[in-house]
């Protein structure tokens, strides 16, 4: 498999595996120095905002605590479209830009609604073991998320 295809598959896999709530599987796709963020711009306060930020250990403890919380059980579906893959061979790294739409399917009857749209800005490290996620910024266009969600997009 060529590098570009492997990177594209990694990004898509990261969404599919989170849809399955396979949190260990997701962390296995991440490099040890992984950094995750959800950000958005607020025109109301004219500022960029960070809505969630964790390193790999933080993501792990977030996932491990989830079952202790009262959460919306509605499944969500992340639809990712990888748009740009910019490979830096010398740095063994790639910058990837994808669009993401998140759909939520209600528990009572299975009605599906659009939950959020935005972009993924990923950095992928390229090593002998194949590509791994080094950082992800989920940049949301949608800022009205109703009663919210406990699981990162």
């Amino acid at each position: 498999m060529d590098t570009r295809t492997a990177i594209t598959e990694l990004i898509h896999r990261s969404g599919l595996i989170m849809d399955e709530r396979d949190f260990k599987g997701y962390l296995d796709l991440c490099a040890p120095d992984y950094q995750y963020r959800i950000t958005a711009y607020s025109p109301e306060i004219r500022k960029d905002m960070t809505w969630l930020e964790h390193d790999k250990a933080g993501m792990k403890s977030l996932f491990e605590n989830l079952h202790r919380h009262n959460s919306d059980k509605s499944p969500i579906s992340r639809h990712i479209n990888v748009c740009l893959v910019d490979i830096d061979e010398a740095a063994e790294e790639a910058s990837v830009t994808s669009t993401i739409e998140v759909f939520r399917t209600t528990l009572d009857g299975g009605e599906t609604e659009l939950f959020a749209v935005g972009k993924l800005y990923d950095t992928v490290t390229l090593g002998h073991d194949g590509p791994a996620l080094r950082s992800r910024n989920v940049r949301l266009d949608t800022r009205l998320l109703g009663y919210g969600y406990h699981i990162p997009f």
Partner: protein, 401 residues
């Protein structure tokens, strides 16, 4: 033992102040009455001064009583508020949530206004109105505006209202000393939930629901001092809850807060509910402000703001943001749970679901699991509405005769 239909509808065996009729959450006529008698009479937070820092900066605000508003800082740096309605043909003047407008020009017929609400141009005015109507007759409708209590911009659409200071009274006493430095909003988001605004304010007014929050159970409920926190009621329906020390590092993946707040003890937590739907929530390093804007009896928009000190270093601000997001962002541990709670109430209390009563009957010497904060709110609600929260249509009173 389960109950049959008659038993289900039977008046609860509590004092009348200890339960309410669920129709106060669902009926359109009661909601319209609330807009007239409560929201259009009370002081309401429209935004924070840091959202309009420069001359001519404006912020639009949908007032819960109905009128759309413009909050704008003038050349003299004074903040004023006007209806966002052109006096000519009733069009919206400003559409964007924020902006900077030295001159507010209606897109419809190009009538223009300045930041003090004066009409400064009527296109082809002389030709059309001759001397029958001119700029002096076409100023914007100004709304009473005051800044206070942490730099928030408060508005009151009732020209005859008391001052903001009189309205708040002593209710902010527990926070006053912590709000004397300039603040800045670093987080803003809003949520629309199918529920009644009072149910959201109820949730902010009681801590019995800490059973819902794993984070609060671990870092608060099982820690020393939790059950010593006391509710205090104030005139006009406001209430406060005393502080305690939160043990943040008791939650796996969390840690003790490094950045505190001026005058607040480490791990401190003070909460003040302002009638009819605003809550100051100062928790160790972050001030969270909720503003409830009802869109209908069972539809609520809530604005959430997270504030730090304007003097924060980048490192301090980054830490406040992390502290905030851990529990209060749209993906935070606690806020999602609170909103799920009132969403569930909205589902159950829809019209025709046969929901009948909500009980506020817990008495624990006005400590943290007492439901006295809500009882205090509904006493004020009943006074302003001229309706009893437990008997909003006077049926019990008629039956008693």
């Amino acid at each position: 033992m389960s109950r049959n239909a008659v038993e289900w509808k039977q008046t609860p065996s509590f004092p009348e102040s200890h339960y309410v009729d669920t129709r106060i959450y669902t009926e359109e006529d009661i909601f319209l009455d609330e807009q007239r008698k409560i929201f259009n009479k009370c002081w309401i937070i429209a935004c924070h001064e840091s959202e309009i820092p420069n001359a001519y900066d404006y912020r639009t605000f949908s007032h819960p009583g109905g009128p759309p508003l413009i909050v704008i800082r003038g050349e003299d740096m004074k903040v004023r508020t006007f209806y966002n309605i052109c006096p000519h043909r009733g069009n919206t003047l400003l559409y964007e949530p924020v902006g900077n407008a030295k001159r507010i020009t209606c897109i419809f017929h190009a009538w223009s206004f300045n930041a003090t609400g004066d009409c400064i141009d009527i296109s082809r005015g002389k030709e059309g109105y001759q001397d029958r109507f001119g700029c002096k007759d076409a100023g914007l409708r100004e709304v009473k505006t005051e800044l206070g209590f942490g730099g928030f911009v408060w508005v009151n659409v009732d020209d005859e209202s008391c001052t903001l200071k009189e309205y708040i009274g002593e209710a902010m006493g527990m926070l006053d000393e912590h709000l004397d430095q300039p603040l800045e909003v670093f987080h803003y988001h809003k949520a629309i939930v199918n529920t009644n605004y009072k149910l959201w304010h109820d949730t902010n007014s009681e801590f019995y629901h800490d059973y819902m929050h794993y984070f609060n159970r671990i870092t608060g409920m099982i820690q020393p001092g939790y059950f010593d926190r006391k509710y205090t009621g104030y005139p006009n329906g406001h209430a406060s809850v005393g502080s305690m020390a939160i043990k943040y590092d008791a939650y796996e993946g969390s840690k003790a807060r490094g950045v505190g707040w001026p005058g607040l003890a480490p791990g401190g937590w003070v909460l003040i509910d302002i009638f009819p739907g605003m809550t100051y929530n100062l928790r160790t390093s972050v001030l969270r402000m909720d503003t409830a804007i009802p869109l209908g009896p069972n539809k609520l928009l809530i604005e959430f703001r997270g504030l730090g000190l304007k003097s924060d270093t980048p490192e301090q601000r980054a830490e406040r943001i992390r502290d905030h997001n851990m529990i209060w962002g749209p993906f935070g541990r606690n806020l999602h749970e609170d909103l799920l709670g009132v969403h569930g109430q909205g589902l159950a209390m829809r019209e025709r679901t046969d929901s009948r009563w909500v009980i506020h009957g817990r008495e624990e010497n006005m400590t943290i699991h007492d439901e006295g904060g809500m009882r205090h709110f509904y006493a004020e609600w009943s006074r302003r509405m001229g309706r009893k929260a437990y008997d909003p249509y006077g049926e019990q009173a008629v039956a008693a005769k």
